[in-house]
């Protein structure tokens, strides 16, 4: 068993009431599966952006044990 680090930012972090959680897994999961497992089996909302190891990815990208996955709302910098 290894862990996937899961991070949430901004309004999503506040809605979920957590900024980071660790998910134990022994096999690769898709980004969508990671979301469902840490969010009570709710499916990943379409507007939520996703990154693995600090690179933007799609919801069907595979996440390996040891990776860092991030979920966040549309960005509003600049």
């Amino acid at each position: 068993m290894m862990t996937i680090t899961v991070k949430f930012f901004a309004s999503l972090r506040e809605q979920l009431g957590k900024s980071e959680t660790l998910l134990s897994t022994s096999k690769p999961l898709t980004v969508s599966q990671v979301w469902s497992q840490v969010c009570d089996n709710i499916s990943l909302p379409a507007h939520i952006l996703t990154a693995v190891n600090m690179e933007y990815v799609e919801a069907n990208t595979l996440v390996n044990p040891g990776d860092e996955v991030a979920f966040f709302p549309p960005v509003t910098g600049g």
């Binding site: 991070k7 930012f9 901004a10 309004s11 506040e14 952006l49 990154a51 600090m54 690179e55 933007y56 991030a70 966040f72 709302p73 549309p74 960005v75 509003t76 910098g77 600049g78």
Partner: protein, 144 residues
């Protein structure tokens, strides 16, 4: 090329002046500099804004802006780029972002500068939370 996140207020013009002294080898080579400065307004969507908090994704935000700068340097005939962005608490009138592109000619300088700020606005992991009157907070939901 430089990318920087800073939690301290900065003046865009003294920052540009200081940065250009590091480009001394390029003097006489670049003929065009285009800059864009984004400044915090005291109103947004019809409401007075008293302060703002800029959240980011430490690590990814820097990485994204570095990649963006490299892409601009590859895509346009430009000599250098500068991107500086505030994080944390910020107040009206303060600079949020500064982007600049140095080139031999004006067309690539303008295009690369515009590209940098558009991509930054639409893709760089920053999130603005505004403090309105009465300490009411709201997350800005989309970038114009």
């Amino acid at each position: 090329m430089k990318v920087e996140l800073t939690s301290q207020p900065f003046n865009p013009w003294t920052t540009l002046q200081a940065y250009e002294t590091t480009l001394s080898a390029q003097i006489g080579k670049y003929g065009a500099v285009t800059t864009f400065t984004g400044t915090m307004r005291d109103f947004n969507q019809g409401e007075d804004v008293q302060a703002m908090y800029l959240e980011h994704y430490p690590g990814m935000t820097e990485k994204y802006l570095q990649q963006l700068s490299h892409t601009a340097l590859q895509r346009w005939d430009i000599l250098d780029t500068l991107v500086i962005h505030r994080v944390g608490e910020i107040h009206p009138g303060e600079t949020i972002v500064l982007v600049a592109a140095w080139a031999s000619h004006r067309a690539p300088a303008f295009e690369a500068c515009r590209y940098l700020i558009e991509e930054l606005k639409h893709r760089a992991p920053f999130w603005k939370r505004e403090t309105l009157g009465g300490e009411k907070m709201r997350w800005v939901e989309s970038n114009g």
